[in-house]
């Protein structure tokens, strides 16, 4: 195992995924993954810079942090990079007025955004909000636009709740892409801009950072493409599928 010290040489910062790594979402908020509360505390006591980098899009950053604190984690809002605030910045910069297909819990993040006469659709993990009617409404808004813009908060395939695996935003994003013949712009992992923003926040270069996540594509693949190292945990959505082990 001496290799590990070589493989971790020069690491100054750690990006931590939240869902499936620190806790599994479920009734009453969720349950911490055993040992992770203490592990976060140990990381924070070390010389390493820690940043939480999540695609959480069912609840606002504030609500997520309150939940994690209740579960015992040492975490504050300004330590979290999440897609909703990043999306608001994109909307403001480009003068986009969104039709939102999102979870009620996320709505407060868009309080300052003009939503009259929408000229784009923003889709996030809407959970039960992914009804045929709501999907159809988003579809109709896109079809009426001359230049349809679809922004997706992440593009994960699925995640784990305590009751089992659940469809994430990605499949619904693909459904709208297919229906309208458009390609979504993804804000969140694995987009390089998103990882860069997280690294900037702790002043660490990509080659000095390691990403820890349960998603082989969003976390591990995305981080490695940005020049980071990445570590996949066998919790959360991890499934031992033959072939996955051979990914670079």
């Amino acid at each position: 195992m001496a290799v590990w010290s070589e493989r971790l040489a020069g690491v100054r910062g750690v990006l931590l995924d939240i869902s499936g790594v620190l806790y599994d979402f479920g009734p009453g908020g969720g349950t911490p993954i055993p040992g992770s509360v203490e592990a976060v505390a140990r990381l924070k006591r070390s010389h390493l810079k820690v940043r939480f980098c999540t695609n959480e899009s069912q609840k606002s950053r504030g609500e997520l942090v309150r939940l994690l604190r209740r579960l015992g984690f040492d975490i504050s809002e300004d330590e979290v990079t999440s897609p909703a605030p990043a999306t608001c910045q994109v909307l403001k910069e480009r003068g986009l007025r969104p039709h939102l297909l999102i979870h009620e819990g996320l709505r407060s993040e868009f309080d300052e955004i003009d939503m009259s006469n929408p000229n784009c659709v923003v889709i996030a993990d809407a959970g039960e909000g992914f009804s045929y009617q709501n999907m159809n409404k988003a579809f109709q808004v896109l079809m009426e636009l001359e230049n349809p813009v679809l922004i997706s908060l992440g593009k994960g395939r699925y995640y784990k709740e305590t009751s089992g695996l659940m469809l994430d935003v990605g499949p619904y994003m693909k459904a709208l892409e297919y229906a309208c013949g458009v390609e979504a712009e993804v804000v969140g992992k694995p987009s390089p801009e998103f990882f860069s923003a997280a690294l900037r926040a702790i002043g660490v270069e990509a080659h000095q950072a390691i990403m820890i996540g349960d998603d082989i594509v969003g976390d591990v693949g995305g981080a490695q493409r940005c020049g980071m190292r990445a570590l996949q945990v066998r919790t959360g959505k991890f499934r031992s599928v033959p072939g996955w082990a051979h990914l670079p």
Binding site: A126, G127, E128, G129, F130, S131, Y132, M135, N136, F139, Q140, M143, R157, Y158, G164, L165, M166, L167, D168, G170, P171, Y172, K174, A175, L176, E177, Y178, A179, G181, R239
Partner: protein, 259 residues
């Protein structure tokens, strides 16, 4: 084309070709009789996701077409025969009106997913259920993959987007059973003892009817009724074997040139 064999079977699309909604294409009943007075076999083939064979048959009877149930082959029939072939127990994400076509199929403890157009079932929990089955290795069978369709209140999502969603989530590909799939046309001929080269397909959809049939080795005749729009015949390569005004004209051509 010189080596074409004698014509043995004629496949005919329903909506848009024999009738348009609740009105028969003028002269069609008569033309069908003329066709039946010859030795060719006639089959009726259609992409439907919500009308059972029984529904289709009732409408055709009302319009005074002489057609029997075992002559109709639909995308639902195709899905059913695939389910039987694979000996699986499907979770049926189809419109309730389509359920009679799956009568007798075992659906408890499902190990496959059949998906059609079923807005009332396309909800988060149901799709999660389908997703978990697929992740456990259940095959995904799609009636067809239409992107959207026209409703009285505007455009509405078809089954295609939801099929795509499940494909993406599980990194699998659905088996599509409706037109224009080659297997659909071959299945429609099963039991007739007739090769694709001995069959002709008549329909109003250039890609799904004519293109699909020609891709399966049949001849395709495009009729200018139903959903036909000017220059549709230029949409496929090779071009339709023949483009003509309507079903009766197509029958006349067959009687004069193909028999």
């Amino acid at each position: 084309m010189a080596a074409r064999r004698a014509l043995k079977a004629v496949l005919v699309d329903l909506n848009g070709t024999l009738h348009i909604e609740d009105a028969a294409v003028p002269g069609s009943q008569e033309a069908l009789k003329r066709l039946r007075s010859t030795s060719v076999m006639v089959r009726f083939v259609t992409n439907t996701t919500k009308e059972s064979k029984q529904d289709l048959l009732e409408r055709l009877k009302k319009l005074e077409f002489d057609i029997s149930e075992d002559e109709i082959f639909t995308s639902l029939t195709a899905a059913r025969s695939l389910v039987e072939q694979k000996q699986v127990r499907p979770m049926l994400l189809v419109d309730d009106r389509a359920l009679p076509d799956f009568k007798g199929i075992e659906t408890s403890d499902p190990n496959a997913v059949v998906i059609g157009l079923a807005p009332e079932h396309f909800h988060y929990q149901t799709l999660n259920q389908a997703f978990r089955l697929l992740l456990d290795g259940a095959p995904l069978i799609a009636i067809h993959k239409a992107r959207y369709y026209k409703r009285k209140d505007g455009l509405a999502l078809g089954p295609g987007p939801f099929v795509t969603a499940l494909e993406y989530a599980t990194d699998t590909k659905a088996t599509v059973v409706g037109k224009p799939e080659k297997t659909f046309f071959l299945e429609a001929l099963r039991g007739t003892g007739c090769e694709p080269e001995e069959a002709v397909m008549i329909g109003d959809d250039c890609r799904d009817d004519v293109g699909g049939a020609q891709n399966a080795g049949m001849r395709g005749i495009l009729v200018k009724t139903g959903k036909y729009r000017a220059a549709d015949e230029e949409k496929i390569n090779p071009a339709p074997y023949l483009t003509c005004e309507s079903f009766p004209h197509a029958v006349d051509h067959i009687l004069q040139h193909l028999l």
